[in-house]
């Protein structure tokens, strides 16, 4: 078990290292720089600023400097918000992003799994069709179309919920969380439904029924675990989907989270901030992938002994 975690952490470290290297050089190779967009500044001033951020050094030296900082947990200063360090900016945005992401995962799992189970147990009945419809909408209508529409209906026309921002506590969370969870609800419910139908056909479920356990107990003790395994396996990729989605959600709903910081930073060539957020996303992804694998191993004894 420990060896398994150790190997995965080592792999994760490799991935992060590759990510840092690739991101760093891609950024430097890209045309334009952090200050090329600013108002006309005299060459002397520009040179001064460049020097202050060590942008005048050769690229390899900048890279070495960055990695050295990283090893000391220093993500460097932001080139755009000059008085803030990257860590400050990330820490200011992270609570918003994590809150929305966390609730989106919770809502997506609960609603998606329930819809899938209902669909599988009431196949080709109205409840199944309703679940299927939600799934279709979630897959076909992108976040950046349904998001603005929800703003329009629930925010502007009905006035039930704030259109965006973060000022109204849980009320500001409702729309972003719902919209962000929608594609995942769609995916999870489809996944649950099909794996549930498959599991219900398993011979061991027939054995359980032959033991006279009764429908409810057969479902709880024998069907659910097998049926939910693929859903658990999806949790890793779901993290990636939530990260992608949160970038859009924070833009659409004007949430001051790290997703929005990231887009701004990328557009403004704020190298250190882009690097910092990329690293954070990479680390989150690795963390959740390992967590998913551990959870699957805990649920499925065959995986546990296979490794």
């Amino acid at each position: 078990m420990l060896r398994f975690i150790g190997k995965r952490l080592w792999d994760g470290g490799l991935t992060l290292a590759a990510l840092v290297t690739l991101t760093f050089f891609v950024m430097r190779l890209a045309p334009g720089g952090p200050f090329s967009r600013s108002r006309k500044i005299s060459p002397e001033v520009l040179a001064n600023i460049q020097a202050a951020f060590h942008l005048d050094e050769p690229v390899w030296k900048q890279f070495a400097r960055y990695v050295w900082g990283l090893l000391h947990l220093d993500l460097g200063p932001s080139t755009r918000f000059r008085d803030y360090s990257v860590s400050d900016l990330i820490l200011s945005g992270l609570p918003y992003s994590l809150t929305i992401g966390f609730w989106a995962v919770v809502v997506a799992s609960l609603v998606g799994v329930s819809l899938g189970i209902i669909g599988a147990l009431r196949r080709n009945q109205p409840a199944d069709y309703l679940a299927g419809l939600i799934g279709v909408v979630g897959i076909a209508v992108p976040i950046f179309v349904i998001g603005p529409l929800c703003q329009l209906v629930f925010g502007l026309k009905l006035g039930w919920l704030p259109v965006g921002g973060s000022g109204q506590g849980w009320r500001s969370l409702v729309l972003p969380v719902l919209v962000l969870s929608l594609p995942n609800i769609a995916y999870i419910s489809r996944l649950t439904r099909s794996s549930m139908i498959e599991t219900l056909r398993e011979n061991y479920v027939r054995t359980a029924r032959a033991k006279g356990l009764g429908g409810g107990r057969v479902l709880r003790a024998h069907v659910l675990r097998g049926a939910l395994l693929p859903v658990v396996a999806y949790l890793g990729p779901a993290t990636a989907a939530i990260i992608t989605g949160s970038i859009l959600i924070e833009t659409v709903f004007a949430v001051p989270g790290i997703g929005r910081h990231f887009v701004d930073a990328a557009l403004n060539r704020d190298y250190p901030l882009v690097m910092g957020i990329t690293l954070l996303y990479g680390a989150l992804l690795i963390f959740f992938n390992i967590g998913t694998d551990l959870l699957r191993g805990w649920m499925d004894p065959r995986l546990r002994h296979g490794r």
């Binding site: 398993e202 011979n203 061991y204 027939r206 054995t207 359980a208 029924r209 032959a210 033991k211 006279g212 356990l213 009764g214 429908g215 107990r217 003790a221 024998h222 675990r225 097998g226 649920m299 499925d300 004894p301 065959r302 002994h305």
Partner: protein, 323 residues
């Protein structure tokens, strides 16, 4: 049949709704089973023999419907409400399935899978149920049963898993055990061993067995009585000895000739029955075996023969009746 039968089938019929129409898998099958008796049901694949067991257990596929009566210990299994059926299945009626590799829950410890029935139906405490499960695993000769009970199915070999299934089925001391080709999926070398174990334990507990198989050797060794099924209908039934001695139905004779026998090791060639069984044969007006029967008469294609007594058995054949 002297005493009150344990199970009495009357006109059991199983139909399946298919896209092409209704397919009759079992057609008006009737027989009795005495307590403690071992009955073999033999027939080729597709003859409906497994469906008889599934219909008794209430485990037919969702497109299947069942007709007739199956009186077991005084109540008709086919008209029980789900709760009552669960009660019967958990206490006095058990089943062993064909494929031991997939019939155990891979996510649950073997001991827990055995114990859960006892906890639910016999009201045992968790620890008492576990102890009984371990004792039963020991009786089916799982080595180091106490430790093994804490293992998962994938850590058992095929033969061991089927012995676990036998333990699970006999744990509640059922009055009747339904065994659906319990050894076809196993290695030939251990088939006999597993079957003998099953029969021996059942005898000790006093459990009757319906053994579905296509292996006549197994029937000859273990069964008191035999039902020969073809195309969903009973072709011949009777005491095993009498049937093996002098099979009356051409199909039963064909089956016997197709079975290798040690005491006639030098027969030049094993007999075969020409042709293949037709699915849905039970829906024809005449005898389902008629198209393949070497001795068919014109009447066979039109009229379904009734079971009538010959020698020691009952057979459904025009031929013998006319003689």
């Amino acid at each position: 049949m002297t005493a009150e039968p344990l199970l009495s089938l009357r006109g059991l019929t199983v139909d399946f709704r298919l896209p092409q129409g209704v397919m009759r898998a079992v057609d008006r099958v009737s027989f009795d089973l005495a307590p403690g008796e071992v009955l073999g049901i033999v027939g080729e694949s597709g003859s409906g023999k497994s469906q008889i067991l599934f219909s008794l257990m209430g485990l037919l596929a969702s497109n299947g419907t069942v007709g007739g009566q199956a009186v077991f210990q005084g109540q008709d299994l086919l008209s029980l409400r789900p709760k009552e059926l669960d009660r019967v299945r958990g206490t006095s009626l058990s089943m062993i399935f064909q494929d031991p590799m997939t019939s155990l829950n891979p996510y649950m410890r073997v001991g827990d899978q055995l114990a859960e029935g006892l906890i639910l139906h016999k009201g045992l405490s968790r620890s008492a149920a576990r102890a009984e499960a371990v004792a039963m695993l020991d009786r089916v000769r799982i080595p180091d049963a106490a430790a093994r009970a804490r293992r998962y199915p994938h850590e058992f070999s095929g033969g061991m898993r089927q012995r676990v299934m036998i333990a699970m089925a006999l744990l509640v001391r059922p009055a009747l055990l339904l065994a659906d080709e319990p050894t076809t999926a196993l290695d030939v070398t251990i088939q006999a061993q597993v079957l003998d174990l099953m029969a021996e334990l059942a005898r000790e507990i006093g459990t009757a067995i319906i053994l579905v198989t296509h292996d006549l050797g197994v029937v000859a060794r273990l069964c008191d009585r035999v039902v020969v099924l073809y195309g969903g209908r009973i072709m011949e039934q009777g005491p095993a000895e009498a049937l093996f001695e002098a099979p009356a139905h051409p199909y039963a004779r064909g089956l016997l000739q197709a079975t290798p026998r040690l005491d006639e090791a030098l027969t030049p060639r094993l007999g075969t029955i020409p042709g293949t069984p037709r699915s849905g044969g039970a829906m024809l007006p005449g005898c389902p075996f008629e198209p393949r029967c070497p001795l068919r008469l014109p009447v066979c294609a039109q009229v379904q023969p009734a079971l009538t007594a010959r020698g020691g058995t009952l057979a459904a054949c025009h031929l013998e009746a006319e003689r």
